[in-house]
């Protein structure tokens, strides 16, 4: 069960999630401080640890559009957030899967800030409103990366196989 801590509209870009002026900061251990940096209140709550791990961002279509910057995924992963949206931009979705950030494609999702969501294998239940919404499973090729614990362990196994 996770609480919706932020509700966003369509076309939220990676400039929005992780503004370009912080791009010199690259390490996943350092990027969480600049998460939604231009939304000063939300950013302050994150930095003050007022947002519990497993909290949910509900967004609109095309979340993560724009730049390929991986910081946009690592900054959210650093706070253990889950993103539920009707659709994601391609590079962002791949980065999220590669880093183990949980993303749920849920075309009909309806939720408000403060609602409690139960995220299942093929649906999202809004416990507060009592409504259930179907979600789309990840394509098999991507699920394999998730199952391996992210792209680093997945690629590590292939590198070892290649060397032997």
């Amino acid at each position: 069960m996770g609480t919706v801590v932020l509700k966003l509209g369509n076309d939220i870009s990676t400039d929005h999630i992780y503004p370009g002026r912080f791009m010199a900061t690259v390490l996943p251990s350092e990027t969480p401080q600049f998460c939604f940096a231009d939304m000063t209140e939300f950013n302050a709550r994150l930095r003050n640890k007022a947002v519990p791990p497993g909290s949910v961002i509900v967004a609109g279509q095309n979340f993560g559009c724009g730049s390929s910057r991986e910081q946009a995924a690592s900054t959210l992963k650093g706070h253990d957030l889950i993103v539920v949206a009707p659709g994601f931009a391609r590079i962002f979705l791949q980065n999220a899967i590669n880093l183990g950030l949980r993303t749920v494609i849920c075309p009909e999702i309806e939720a408000s800030e403060g609602d409690e969501l139960e995220i299942g294998a093929d649906s999202v239940t809004n416990v507060t409103s009592g409504k259930r919404f179907a979600s789309q499973p990840l394509p098999k090729a991507r699920q394999a990366i998730v199952d391996a614990g992210g792209l680093i362990p997945y690629a590590r196994k292939l590198v070892v196989e290649q060397a032997s």
Partner: protein
């Protein structure tokens, strides 16, 4: 069933006779490009090898390109230190295609790749930059990846888990009116299909307008295809591609001109009559918020930007210089010009474009990304309006969430610089 050009490229790169849309393949990579974000790629590359007892090993240092462009010269000690780490890594591993901040070889990655002859038709190009789509202008399948995905490419030489994408066919016929440029065409298309209209798909460009278009214009189209969500844009290679490669990129190798099959299947076909197009603007704060310039004409602007990987090439500077030549910019306007590479800078200097721009009041900056992404140089003040030939206008893109960015062609930018308000270049 016939194949699209990207299906053919992926089949070859995966060692198969054919691939169907939705198949998962692992194509071999011909060129892997990064810029300053190579600092993160290097970190993730070392992570992959952690605990394996193996020495980190690049699959092919000659197929890796690293270009410094995003923050040159370094705007902070942090960037400078990252750049130093990358230089050390490049030297240690013998990376062949490294372009540092230098007048004899530097510039924006999406200009350096084509002009150096690194991109050939039929090849697979990946880059840790979303505008890697640009290189489809030369008939390559070129797409953006994240840093960790690139680290896996550095180690393995192939991209893992690529789904063969569906393709939208865009057919453009007719002659573009005077001062209506490829930028207006791509803005129109993005406005028409929306910022997610081509998500997970490729845009294949056809039609006589495209056949007559220079590689520079094709680079503008493919560059901005990602703003409609496309995995890549691509132009089937033709005589113009060969001309560009021979005359401008110094390529003497044989060039493969394979195009799509006549019976290829497309998710949809979009037809555009070039003669109907007018100058376009992408209004704040999304690239698909597109309107004809006439609808917004008269809006006061503070800063004009000409440059970037989208419109910082010689023909763009020629258009801008031609408009401002012998005139002066409006008093309250500042105009920043960023040529896309030092080669273009020198050529524009030789042809007199730079002095024409400077005499009018423009400031010519060093080639690089400059203010395109709001990291350094040319930030906007609260409440200010910029008119820019770059490719993104998201809130805060030019360093200030309390400012507005309109995107346009170099002709609209230059005409507006003279009046100080958004102006239709057709007069």
């Amino acid at each position: 069933m016939g194949m699209t050009i990207v299906q053919k490229i992926l089949a070859r790169a995966a060692g198969r006779s054919s691939v169907a849309i939705g198949d998962v393949v692992e194509p071999r990579v011909d060129l892997a490009m990064s810029h300053e974000n190579a600092a993160l790629v290097i970190n993730q590359f070392h992570e992959i090898y952690k605990g394996t007892g193996l020495e980190p090993h690049l699959w092919d240092p000659d197929r890796i390109a690293i270009i410094f462009d995003h923050r040159v010269p370094a705007e902070s000690s942090k960037t400078a230190t990252n750049q130093k780490k990358i230089r050390d890594f490049v030297a240690k591993h013998g990376i062949g295609r490294f372009h540092d901040l230098r007048g004899d070889e530097g510039g924006i990655c999406h200009q350096i790749l084509p002009e150096s002859g690194y991109v050939l038709p039929g090849r697979v190009v990946v880059g840790t930059d979303s505008h890697t789509t640009s290189h489809g202008a030369l008939g390559a399948f070129a797409f953006g990846v994240g840093a960790t995905e690139m680290a896996a490419v550095w180690a393995l030489g192939r991209v893992l888990n690529v789904e063969v994408p569906d393709t939208i066919k865009v057919v453009v016929d007719g002659t573009l009116p005077a001062t209506v440029l490829p930028k207006d065409l791509i803005l129109h298309l993005i406005g028409r299909i929306s910022a997610e209209g081509a998500n997970f798909k490729v845009i294949e460009f056809h039609g006589d307008t495209i056949e007559r278009m220079s590689t520079s214009g094709r680079l503008t189209l493919c560059n901005m295809s990602v703003e409609a969500g496309a995995t890549s844009g691509i132009v089937p290679p033709d005589a113009e591609t060969v001309r560009y490669l021979r005359e401008e990129a110094g390529v003497s190798d044989e060039v493969d001109l394979t195009g799509p099959d006549a019976g290829a299947s497309y998710s949809e076909t979009i037809e555009i009559n070039a003669a109907d197009l007018a100058p376009q603007l992408a209004c704040p704060h999304t690239v698909d918020h597109v309107k004809p310039v006439v609808d917004v004409a008269g809006r006061k602007v503070d800063q004009i930007v000409i440059g970037s990987c989208t419109n910082g090439r010689l023909d763009d500077l020629e258009v801008a210089a031609g408009i401002v030549k012998g005139k002066r910019l409006a008093k309250h306007v500042r105009m920043l010009v960023f040529p896309a590479s030092w080669r273009i800078y020198k050529e524009a200097m030789r042809l007199g474009y730079l002095s024409e721009l400077i005499d009018a009041g423009a400031v010519v900056m060093n080639p690089g990304c400059g203010c395109c992404l709001g990291v350094h140089q040319g930030a906007l003040g609260d409440g200010e309006v910029a008119l820019s030939t770059t490719n993104r206008n998201f809130k805060g893109r030019m360093g200030n969430p309390n400012s507005e960015v309109y995107l346009c062609s170099p002709a609209v930018a230059a005409a507006s610089a003279l009046t100080g308000v958004i102006t239709d270049p057709r007069g």
